[in-house]
Amino acid sequence: MPAIIRLQREPIAIAAEVEKLVGAHKDVGAVVTFTGICRADENGAPIAALTLEHYPGMAEAEIARHVEEAYARWPLLAALVIHRYGRIVPGEDIVLVATASSHRHAAFAAAEFLMDYLKTRAPFWKQVESAGTTAWVEAKSADDAAAERWSAPPPQRDAAK
């Protein structure tokens, strides 16, 4: 299970990371990358920054469990999850997920699966800083619903067509 899982404070060198991930695999035909970016507003109000708190040790372990599950569900050749913590200003990246496979379907599905689970299961918490005050971001039920759809038996979306 070739996977890169890393937590870091620094911005993510997206192109270099993806190049490293795919470089060694000659049978890769599709790479999907997802980058989560810090928006300039939260619920319509401008923000100065986000601060991400995490549970060291558990965050890596939880991401690894989901990467393992992604490998069990789809024919992946490589996977990468890099998540930042600390203070992040609007426009900066927060998370990078990349999945590589021979064909696009597995790469798209696995990337979406990993992101849906990261949102609801990986122990990270966002705090918003705006106009001198701070507030914890509340979990969204839409994110729970997005993760929930993967807990049904393996996706039949293509077969249904």
Binding site: G36, Y55, E62, K119, T120, A122, W125, W136, V137
Partner: protein
């Protein structure tokens, strides 16, 4: 007095994150709950009784998530044998 190991109280490392940490006022501590505290839900109820900061942190235990030894658990999970228990709000990463 207890006999044998069953029901004997034992020190547990507890960690708090995000607003649970802010309300409790510390990121981690060692606790020694009494022998009758067997589940995560019971531990939250016991913690809520340990002073006003704890009462505030655990006033709505239904919204608080828990992990035992870095694995998510439900509130009915038993805490016996746990090395580290963490309490935190629903996660908002990604």
């Amino acid at each position: 007095m207890t006999s044998g190991t069953a029901g004997q109280s034992k020190k547990i490392k507890v960690r708090y994150f995000a607003w649970v940490r802010e309300r409790v006022g510390k990121p981690e501590e060692e606790i020694e709950p009494p022998a009758g505290v067997a589940t995560v839900a019971e531990l939250m109820a016991w913690l809520a009784d340990q002073g006003e900061h704890y009462a505030y942190a655990f006033e709505n235990p239904k919204v608080i998530r828990a992990a035992i030894d870095r694995n998510h658990v439900r509130s009915e999970a038993r805490i016996e044998g746990a090395g580290e228990i963490a309490f935190f709000p629903p996660m908002t990463g990604g």
